[in-house]
Symmetry: C2
Subunit: 256 residues, 2 copies
């Protein structure tokens, strides 16, 4: 049996009661923190609350040879697999679940809070006005991906907001909102299509924490704003509905 | 002080530890269940777990005169406002939060699991391939809204999946997947644009429960499938990525 459990957004207390019960009665607990991370918790805090040691897997363990660890255990043990945010949102988790099912292992999911819905709560932007999301990745051999720019362009043309996840990299760490904006503006400079001309951005840092930082402004001013520690995400909104504008003024200090 | 708390998807144990602590120490607890509902819990079960009475508000209380109840209390008391799913995803909650802020009431959000991310976990459809979402509403004076059809059309043209929320109505109850498909096909029949010709649908019932029902098939066969009790949601996917197709075969019984 393999149960995927989403730990939520910020610290060890964002897990659901149902998730906590499932960990407590499991034989073995694994976790991965390369797709998302609880910045407000340490491994020690998680283990203390769950009353159980947690084996942290890296990307290679999960994607290359899960049958050496988690899948081997799940054949005849009650195994939980913990991740930040909601469970099974990352493709790599879907792949793991399918591998498990092929081996005849029963699987289940216990959901947790995700930035995908939390972004509405903290900014006041409306859920049904979000289009496709994208990730701003660190440049690979100094090549800056144009995918997020194209996604924003498509969404704006359809009157929709774009949620931009910011890369987490083993060597380079957590991408900041500032770096994300810088990369977007590099593409704008190259393409000169005006997608980001006078564009607003809404930056959110540490969603789910007692002191999330939410700030909305034009990108050229937002790119030097100090958001503090990770995790960061960025929204490039389409034209605002009046209630959204009012919300960004009240909740994100927007001054137009 | 007014704290918005998302209760998650299914029953009283989907709340986070953080949310539970906040309710326990609050002076007054309000809830609304007209935008979403925990089908696996009763008010009695919630009150027993929280150790506190819950005042359930209807749409009018929240939208027309919140200053008579929740806002009045929040001026000098520690008040929590409970909702199904994640907190503050519905526009009506954003409006309430802005009213509170205008009255000088401090506000906060404690997030919960939402169907917006859970749908990826239960179906294996990839998060970044979802476009704008829409709601299929019960016909008003026998007029069937074409908005969901237009949303599916736009998303499909962009290679994106569409998440369709199904209406909750005081008189008509919880819309089923079957009814939702019937309403979409009525629009197809009228418009004849072929948006739904041979289209697949993925129906999800009771996400977050121990026995969610997840079924993928062509709409004409899905429309008579028995999904059991509420809540239901429907996804009209765009062309599937091979990993998504594999996931729908394994997790949703898809046979192409």
């Amino acid at each position: 049996m393999l149960t995927f459990i989403g730990l939520g957004l910020w610290d060890e207390k964002d897990i659901s009661l149902k998730g906590l019960e499932a960990i407590k009665k499991a034989d073995v607990a694994y976790a991965e923190f390369y797709t998302s991370r609880l910045m407000g918790a340490t491994l020690e805090k998680l283990e203390a609350l769950y009353g159980k040691p947690i084996k942290v897997l890296d990307r290679e363990d999960v994607e290359q040879h899960p049958e050496d660890s988690i899948l081997k255990d799940a054949v005849d043990k009650d195994v939980v697999f913990l991740t930040g945010g909601d469970a099974m949102v990352a493709t790599t988790h879907v792949d793991l679940r399918l591998r498990a099912q092929k081996m005849g292992i029963q699987t289940a999911v216990i959901h947790g809070a995700s930035i995908a819905s939390a972004v509405c709560g903290v900014t006041g932007l409306q859920n049904y006005r979000f289009g496709k999301s994208a990730t701003i990745a660190f440049p690979y051999r100094s090549i800056v991906s144009e995918t997020p720019y194209d996604t924003i362009k498509m969404n704006k043309a359809n009157g929709l907001h774009t949620l931009l996840f910011l890369d987490i990299d083993k060597a380079q760490g957590y991408m900041t909102i500032n770096k994300g904006i810088e990369l977007l503006l590099l593409v704008e400079e190259r393409r000169k299509e005006g997608v980001l001309r006078d564009a607003l951005g809404v930056g959110v840092a540490r969603a789910g924490s007692p002191e999330p930082c939410v700030k909305a402004a034009r990108l050229d001013s937002l790119k030097s704003y100090d958001f503090g520690g990770p995790l960061h995400i960025l929204v490039i909104p389409a034209e605002l509905h009046f209630l959204e504008e009012e919300a960004l003024e009240a909740l994100a200090g927007l001054r137009l």
